[in-house]
């Protein structure tokens, strides 16, 4: 038995090291996202960032969320991001020159946000290590049961929200026949 315990300890250590490494990568790539000059590169870094998030989910034993993050964010949304960025030609020349005041306002706003963040972090202190009460929660079956029993209402309401967004997009995309007629 002691041998087994040592093994567990070993695996936990490995998990810890992986977590810190991946967390470092997440932050590193997110910084690259905002610092990259080329917007397409920035999107590619964003993809890498989301990939590290997927690994975080797997480390938390939330396989379903991990794979959904993989499919929806990496596989669909960021493809669309990349798609639009490839279509619009974002050169340095076409970038609008921002006035000095706007830059100052941005620095001021960012500083305030940083202060707020630091203050809130100081109040909470170091958080306890996350302990999963139910390690199987992230599996598809359990997640489905939770979603369709306890959280049925919010789940369905969110679907209505998505539907309204879709209808809005369709409305925006279709030409307004009345107006064009009036112009003609």
């Amino acid at each position: 038995m002691p041998n087994l315990k040592a093994g567990q300890k070993y695996i936990e250590n490995i998990n810890m090291i992986t977590f810190y490494f991946i967390a470092f990568l997440s932050i590193f790539f997110s910084i690259l996202v905002i610092s990259a000059k080329n917007p397409v590169h920035s999107i590619l870094y964003l993809i890498l960032t989301f990939f590290t998030f997927t690994i975080h989910y797997i480390l938390l034993n939330a396989q379903f969320l991990a794979i959904v993050n993989f499919i929806v964010y990496m596989g669909a949304i960021l493809v669309l991001f990349l798609y639009t960025l490839m279509l619009i030609n974002l050169n340095k020349e076409s970038e609008p020159v921002k006035p000095f005041m706007v830059k100052m306002a941005a620095v001021f706003g960012g500083g305030i946000l940083a202060v707020a963040l630091v203050a809130s972090l100081k109040i909470t202190g170091t958080s306890d290590p996350v302990v999963l009460k139910d390690p199987g929660l992230g599996l598809v079956k359990n997640l489905g049961k939770v979603l369709f029993n306890e959280f049925l209402l919010p789940f369905e309401v969110s679907s209505v929200l998505l539907l309204s967004a879709m209808v809005g997009a369709v409305l925006l995309a279709t030409k307004d026949t009345k107006e064009t007629k009036a112009i003609n």
Binding site: F64, I71, G75, V79, L82, Y83, M86, L87, V140
Partner: protein
């Protein structure tokens, strides 16, 4: 003991990797040969008997060719593109159950690299990631034709992923699990899912054609309009990787279709056979049956390629959004009602 297990896993991974590469390699040969037969021709027959060494010759040619990176391309991403394409094509094979568990002595060897309980979604994720190879390569080439090919690939893949996902949902209603291993087990004997999900299978098949960029959905590399599509600027082995990735994708998607809908390694009368030939040969016969199914699917891919002309772009989008998606949703509803009534 554990070390042996790890060794077996590594061997399995190596074998599957090797098999997918060899199958992809000989798919190129098969494609040319089958195209020739469909057109009353002979096909490659110079290199070796029946031209069997043609893929090797082609590979050697690819390696020998001059490597060109355009001056205005983004060099790093230009190399990342084909690498990503072949990487995403290869990692899909990890969750496919290649056969029943082998029992050698007192050891049970599963013929599946890993049976994660979200296997289908994993395949789906890998497929959706595959488009990045095309997009990055097409963008990094700094060529308008490449870019157009990449954009076509992206919009096509995203459009058809939706109906693919919806057709899988109908299948999940039937199987009740996301694990490919369990799905394969459920179809024991002749209880193949295609019997319960014929419409879903056809939807999945059409989407598989679109996701692997095969004719009639090969608009990203449509040579009549886009020179070479996303790989216009590529030469030597980088081009080879793109072409190779397409064939590996075809192999993997054939395997997925065979597993999800056509019973995987199951065949009628398998219990009787296994009882008679023992627990080692029996599963291996199942694996053989599985590969037969895969090859039939690959043949079907090629058969369609040499039959149906390419779609126009608006036809492609019409088919994807106005026909396949409503059909897939209707399929889900019908399946749901049927399951509710049956239980």
């Amino acid at each position: 003991m554990e070390l042996v297990d790890i060794g077996i896993k590594f061997a399995l991974v190596a074998v599957i990797f090797g098999i997918s590469l060899v199958v992809a390699m000989y798919s190129t040969y098969a494609e040319r040969k089958i195209a020739a037969f469909f057109q009353d021709r002979v096909g490659p027959n110079r290199a070796g008997p029946f031209g069997m060494f043609q893929p090797l010759a082609d590979g050697a040619k690819m390696f020998m060719k001059e490597e060109i990176i355009p001056t205005n391309a983004t060099p790093f991403l230009f190399i990342v593109g084909p690498s990503l394409a072949i990487l995403t094509a290869c990692i899909g094979s990890a969750v496919i159950p290649w056969g029943q568990n082998l029992t050698v002595g007192d050891k049970v060897i599963p013929l599946q690299v890993t049976d994660i309980n979200v296997g289908i979604l994993y395949i789906f994720g890998v497929v959706s990631l595959g488009v990045y190879g095309v997009m990055i390569g097409g963008w990094a080439s700094n060529n308008k034709y490449s870019l157009l090919g990449a954009i076509r690939a992206a919009s096509q893949n995203i459009s058809y992923e939706i109906s693919m996902g919806l057709s899988i949902i109908a299948l999940l209603l039937v199987t009740g699990t996301l694990s490919l291993g369990e799905i394969a087990q459920q179809q024991h004997g002749w209880h193949w899912n295609v019997i319960y999900q014929p419409v879903g299978f056809i939807l999945f098949l059409v989407c598989a054609f679109a996701e692997t960029n095969r004719t009639p959905f090969d608009l990203p590399e449509c040579e009549t309009e886009l020179v070479g599509g996303y790989h216009t600027e590529y030469s030597s082995m980088k081009l080879g990787f793109y072409l190779f990735a397409e064939y590996i994708n075809m192999f993997i998607s054939s395997a997925v279709m065979a597993t999800l809908y056509w019973g995987g390694y199951n065949y009628p009368g398998m219990d009787w056979v296994t009882a008679h030939v023992g627990p080692v040969i029996g599963p291996l016969i199942g694996t053989g049956v599985f590969f037969t199914k895969i090859f039939l699917f690959i043949f079907f891919f090629m058969w369609v390629r040499w039959t149906i002309p390419r779609f126009r772009y608006d036809q492609l989008m019409d088919l994807g959004w106005k026909i396949l998606i409503p059909l897939a949703i209707a399929n889900i509803v019908v399946t749901g009602v049927w399951i509710t009534l049956a239980s």
